[in-house]
């Protein structure tokens, strides 16, 4: 800026000099703008680098893991004892824990979340919705470690009163608490999808003499199906990736079983268990957590892709 003083603009020389000064100014401004744009682009690329970093780290460690253990035995072995002298690496043992706990959680979160979404979107008045929705969303704001504490020291003793043989660490109570934690993820997204259904569809339904429940179940829910489905998928991803509740309340015991009344280890809680001990960097035990992480990543990624596909396939255009 300093070069363009009033003197340089008016002073002696000529209009050509003025123009030259302006051109110089403009070029400088353009350079600065360009530099800023590149800087901003680099900041935006951090997210891509994060993904690349995740893929790189998981693949690097998993590859050296799979040079010790064959993929076939990883997928078919029925025992998971990576730290024993007689080491077995059967990912299905951990997978069974993940599937059981997610199933319990989703059996709670999907029905309750859907009912709440329909209720808030179609039945509740404006004021009820505006107070109840934020209150419910607090559920997803509580740190998961605290849910772990709650599952272990409140829900399990409560369940033991009903079913005295329940062990102190079990998948059931962790799954239930996880399910309640996931409710807001399912209900908020489903409700948004239902509210996006145009009013004219509802009005048409009411004009035909349908009741609220008929309108909700036969018009609004089918019309919002793609949004509701992606809310379910998000819920599934959350359940599969949930860590602390299971690490605290489900007992970290690797057995190939789908019984929620027993303790179990999941992929995530196994990673926590290993990280808590001190395994030497570079050992096979250390590499197992990356192989477990890779399995988890593949699982959630396939759910996310399924969600994308569902949204595309069943999107209703109005």
């Amino acid at each position: 800026m300093a070069s363009v003083t009033p003197q340089s603009l008016q002073g002696g020389s000529s209009a050509a000099a003025n123009l030259a000064a302006y051109a110089q100014l403009k070029a400088r401004r353009k350079r600065r703008e360009r530099a800023i744009e590149v800087g901003l682009l680099l900041a935006a690329c951090v997210s891509v680098l994060t993904t690349l970093g995740i893929v790189y780290v998981l693949l690097r460690e998993s590859l050296s893991f799979f040079s010790h253990v064959s993929i076939w035995s990883f997928l078919t072995d029925s025992q998971w004892t990576p730290l024993f002298a007689d080491a077995h690496f059967g990912i299905w043992v951990l997978m069974s824990g993940t599937i059981t706990s997610s199933a319990v959680a989703l059996l709670i979160a999907i029905p309750l979340g859907t009912i709440i979404a329909v209720y808030l979107s179609e039945f509740a008045g404006f004021r009820a919705r505006e107070t109840l929705k934020p209150l419910l969303e607090l559920l997803s704001g509580v740190p998961t470690i605290i849910y772990g504490y709650f599952a272990l020291l409140f829900v399990t003793p409560l369940l033991q009163k009903i079913y005295p043989d329940l062990p102190g660490f079990n998948v059931l109570s962790a799954g239930i608490v996880m399910g309640i934690m996931i409710i807001p993820y399912v209900s908020s997204l489903s409700e948004d999808a239902m509210r996006a259904v145009p009013m004219s569809l509802r009005e048409g339904s009411y004009a035909m003499g349908a009741t609220r429940f008929q309108t909700a179940s036969k018009v609004v829910v089918p019309a919002a199906f793609s949004g509701i489905a992606s809310a379910y998928i998000l819920g599934i991803s959350r359940a599969v990736g949930e860590t602390m509740i299971l690490a605290v309340a489900a007992g970290m015991q690797p057995t190939l079983s789908f019984n929620p009344l027993e303790p179990a280890a999941t992929i995530t809680s196994y990673i926590v268990q290993v990280a808590l001990g001190d395994l030497p960097h570079g050992s096979v035990g250390y590499q197992t957590i990356f192989a477990a992480g890779l399995s988890l990543m593949v699982l959630t990624l396939s759910f996310n892709l399924a969600g994308h596909w569902l949204r595309r396939r069943f999107r209703e255009a109005y």
């Binding site: 935006a44 997210s47 990673i271 990356f290 959630t300 996310n304």
Partner: protein
């Protein structure tokens, strides 16, 4: 004309369907009740077992083998320091990235790639970020199990949240604000820095607070990088060491954070440690919920003052 009989049948049908409305309404309230009762039970349980342990000493003592003398000093100091690093990294990067995507980016494959990436990253389980940090920050970059590693990990974790909320805030600014500024001869960066960023501050701030409140409660990634669970000393106070190298000693210090302290106490069999866990949980929930509350209030207050 429908006969008397038909009318009665129709009325019965209507009554039947109206009954379903009522049943579903009750079901909806019941489901909401399950969620809200759980939240209430969680709070009451925590308050009953935790509040008797809350005293000044609890905040100023280190963890100890004796439950009655243990406190959360190293934990809350660690949490505050890690949050500082997280905020210092995630806020500028997140805002800059969002500005690029919303105001600069032309539609081409790089932008598409970044967009898809951000959506996918938001769905990656937090423990995977822990593995990323363990493999990359701890061992490949040699940062160790330090405050810096934890702060960077959590920053990457909340980056999608900051980017998404900032973009929404930028998008809600009407186009004529930009056009007006351009018409006065402003450059793109001048439009962004002097108009768009100040106007979208409420939205950005909300996103930052929500992101930080998520980060402060995250346990899994920090455990995964191998943070110690028993720390009975404080990291050196930030920016007090002998300059220039001493200023950043605190970044490389071992640490513990609130959620890890809670995890440690919860997983001990002795019930008197569970009381400590309840008290620390109470403090942590209070911190996260007041941050969430602040975000909601800010959004409400600042939005009211903006009239387009």
């Amino acid at each position: 004309m429908p006969s008397q009989h038909d009318t009665a049948a129709i009325r019965a049908l209507i009554r039947k369907h109206k009954r379903w409305d009522l049943i579903f309404g009750l079901l909806g309230l019941l489901s909401l009740g399950v969620g809200i009762l759980t939240l209430a039970a969680l709070f009451i349980d925590m308050a009953i077992s935790g509040i008797p342990r809350l005293s000044a000493e609890f905040f100023t003592s280190f963890p100890s083998r004796r439950a009655a003398q243990a406190g959360i000093l190293s934990a809350w100091v660690g949490s505050v320091l890690v949050m500082m690093v997280t905020a210092l990294v995630a806020v500028p990067l997140g805002i800059a990235g969002a500005i690029y995507l919303e105001e600069y980016a032309r539609k081409h494959w790089i932008t598409d790639l970044i967009e898809i990436n951000i959506t996918n990253l938001a769905g990656v389980p937090s423990i995977i970020y822990g593995l990323l940090a363990l493999g990359l920050f701890v061992y490949t970059f040699g940062l160790g199990q330090s405050i810096l590693t934890a702060g960077l990990t959590l920053a990457l974790l909340i980056l999608p949240i900051v980017i998404t909320t900032t973009r929404e805030a930028l998008r809600s600014i009407p186009q004529y604000i930009r056009e007006g500024a351009y018409a006065c001869g402003a450059s793109r960066w001048q439009v962004v820095s002097q108009h768009l960023v100040p106007y979208s501050m409420p939205g950005i701030l909300t996103g930052v607070i929500i992101g930080l409140s998520r980060a402060i409660g995250e346990t899994a990634p920090i455990i995964t990088i191998g943070a110690l669970t028993f720390i009975a000393f404080l990291p050196p106070a930030p920016f007090t060491g002998t300059p220039p190298a001493g200023l950043f000693d605190w970044l490389m210090s071992p640490f513990t954070v609130m959620p890890i302290q809670i995890f440690n106490w919860t997983s001990r069999p002795d019930p008197s440690f569970h009381q400590n866990a309840a008290a620390a949980s109470f403090v942590l929930v209070f911190m996260t919920l007041s941050m969430n509350g602040l975000a909601i209030w800010l959004r409400y207050r600042l939005r009211k003052n903006i009239k387009w």
